[in-house]
């Protein structure tokens, strides 16, 4: 306290303090801050309202006939309809995405990050992948229709879940590549150098050092892509998923009928959402809750997993 007295100038400590504290009330600052915060919270509110609205809309269906809703087929009467065929289609689409998009996507990412020479071809591939990621999903539907429904109908059976599954695998492939490449890029170079220094080949370094380290990041990206594929409808409409009542109902694991016509959860939602009868509203909401449960659970798991690893590794 002894030195707080002014030395020579006539300014009192109180005056200095007042100046340093400045204006207490920064109105524009506060207004902007609040506006920004509100726009941030908007997403949360929307998500909350959306989930609440749909869960409450579909609740009756779950409460009154959960099992028959899951195991039922598509009927004229809402009270008898169920999503068994849609679940089957969605399951098989998931299988195709996992079986095709994951290995091809991770393989391409490994090539681009670990192997590719810095030449023209590599740059073309790189730019091409980023452009593919921006192509609207319905255009992939056109690809699926022209190639897998028409040209290769002998292999796919035409408008089948095979054609739909391959199309969605292609749709998410660029995203799988981009996220996997990002995860691989984050692997510290020390590890690679250590491996090479001991006489490991490129593939040995990749398999034993790079991929294990990048695995959580790659897994996050792949799960997010899978979730995206399971929620897609537009390409499936083009590929000929049945937007209407589907008669056949083969078993979940009946591989022999994979070349038959099919439907999937997002397609059933689209169809029911367009029906005028109010009973189908509740049914649509219930189907949406099922799809949201699958997709959001996958999303949340992937995001949490990534955040955990990020904070662990600093």
């Amino acid at each position: 306290m002894s030195i707080s007295a002014p030395l020579s100038s006539g300014i009192s400590a109180e005056a200095v303090r007042r100046r340093l504290h400045g204006q207490r009330f920064d109105l524009p600052g506060i207004v902007v801050h609040v506006a920004l915060l509100l726009s941030l919270l908007f997403s949360l509110v929307v998500l909350g309202v959306l989930v609440y609205d749909l869960v409450s809309g579909g609740w009756d269906v779950f409460a009154s006939r959960f099992a028959s809703f899951l195991s039922g087929t598509m009927r004229f009467a809402a009270s008898e309809s169920g999503i068994a065929q849609a679940l089957r289609g969605t399951l098989w689409i998931g299988v195709f995405v996992v079986a095709l998009a994951f290995p091809f996507g991770i393989g391409a990412a490994v090539y681009l990050e670990e192997y590719a020479p810095d030449n023209r071809l590599t740059r073309v591939i790189d730019i091409n992948i980023r452009n593919l990621a921006g192509v609207p999903s319905i255009v992939y539907g056109i690809l699926g229709f022209a190639v897998f429904v028409k040209t290769l109908s002998g292999l796919t059976g035409g408008r089948s879940v095979i054609a739909g599954g391959i199309t969605l695998a292609i749709l998410v492939l660029p995203v799988v590549i981009i996220t996997a490449a990002e995860a691989i890029r984050a692997v510290p170079d020390d590890l690679r150098q250590g491996g090479y220094g001991l006489g490991a080949t490129r593939w040995e370094v990749t398999r034993t050092q790079v991929l294990p380290y990048a695995a959580p990041g790659i897994l996050t990206g792949t799960v997010l892509s899978l979730a995206r594929a399971l929620g897609e409808a537009a390409p499936l409409i083009l590929v000929g998923a049945v937007v209407g009542r589907l008669g056949s109902n083969p078993g979940l694991f009946d591989i022999g009928s994979l070349d038959q016509r099919f439907t999937a959860l997002p397609i059933v939602i689209t169809y029911w959402a367009g029906l005028p009868q109010p009973d189908f509203r509740a049914l649509t909401a219930a189907a949406i809750v099922v799809v949201l449960a699958i997709v959001l659970a996958a999303n949340a798991a992937a995001i949490l997993m990534r955040n955990r690893y990020e904070s662990k590794r600093g």
Partner: protein, 294 residues
């Protein structure tokens, strides 16, 4: 564990015989019969990164079971030069080498030579300890496994750790993650990891620069110990270290190019370490080792 060995005409070149340039010829006091067989012969090597020449016209001779130190100011190309000996520079797409480096008479850069095999025989220890995110055991076993060396892995791991003077400290926690070790222990682990693939040469790039003096001392002791079985090249910024551990010393510096604003590394002097530190032939060496420069 045996490895196929060629049976061509033995050529007992010696280090003293290789260089014709007077400034590179080994000091002649007391050498003669004692000169070691030659492991590496470096002739007129220049290294480029794209269009940039990082080092030029280097001639060197590395003797067997000796410790050779590379010293010189930052950016003069010591690391660049070192990484040529096990073709680590192949991993940098822009890097290119001119001249020849022969290893027991075989040009390391000739067609048919496989960098992977070269690196197995010529191990490397890095500036920052870089243990793999695996157990201590798996770190050591990594090299032998990929090289498909057969035999009792437990025994091999133990021997490698013993050679690196780390066994007693870690024998009870071989399954623990290597990252739990101290920095000095990690670096000795990296040395043990390199020894486990049974190399002949070990390249060390400032292996102690991330360590405290005590850990540094232990690594220096270790080098002294294993030198009877291995040929070692070490890059260091630490004059005392170079003077303490090395048999021979190569002093590099960077010269500014007149035409462009770039710097290219050159080898100034290469001689026995005592000579380099007591009676260097070149003024620049003297300035550097006495701390007047760099």
């Amino acid at each position: 564990m045996s490895r196929p060995r060629g049976t061509t005409v033995p050529t007992h070149e010696t280090v003293a015989a290789v260089s014709t340039r007077p400034d590179l010829r080994r000091g002649d006091e007391g050498e003669g019969a004692g000169s070691k067989p030659l492991v590496f012969g470096v002739e007129d090597v220049s290294v480029y990164y794209g269009g940039f020449r990082a080092v030029r016209n280097v001639d060197l001779a590395i003797g067997q079971q000796e410790i050779t130190a590379f010293i010189g100011p930052s950016g003069c190309g010591k690391t660049t030069m070192l990484r040529c000996f096990n073709r680590m520079n192949d991993l940098i797409p822009s890097a290119r080498i001119e001249g020849t480096i022969s290893y027991h008479g075989v040009n390391l850069y000739e067609d048919g030579v496989n960098p992977v095999e070269v690196r197995r025989r010529i191990g490397m220890v890095f500036q920052k300890p870089n243990p793999f995110p695996k157990s201590i055991y798996d770190n050591i076993a990594y090299g032998p496994r990929i090289a498909r060396l057969d035999g009792d892995m437990d025994e091999l791991v133990e021997q490698a750790l013993r050679r690196a003077a780390l066994w007693d400290e870690v024998k009870d926690r071989l399954k623990d993650l290597a990252m739990g070790l101290s920095g000095g222990q990690q670096q000795r682990l990296c040395i043990a990891r390199a020894l486990a693939v049974d190399p002949e040469v070990i390249l060390m790039d400032e292996p102690c620069s991330a360590l405290d003096p005590i850990a540094t001392g232990r690594i220096e002791d270790l080098m002294e110990e294993i030198k009877s079985s291995y040929t070692i090249i070490i890059v260091t910024h630490n004059m005392q270290q170079a003077a303490r551990v090395s048999d021979r010393c190569a002093f590099f510096t960077a010269e500014v190019n007149e035409t462009s604003d770039t710097r290219t590394g050159i080898l100034v002097e290469f001689d026995r370490t005592e000579k380099m530190f007591s009676n260097p032939a070149d003024e620049r060496t003297e300035n550097y080792v006495t701390g007047r420069f760099g």
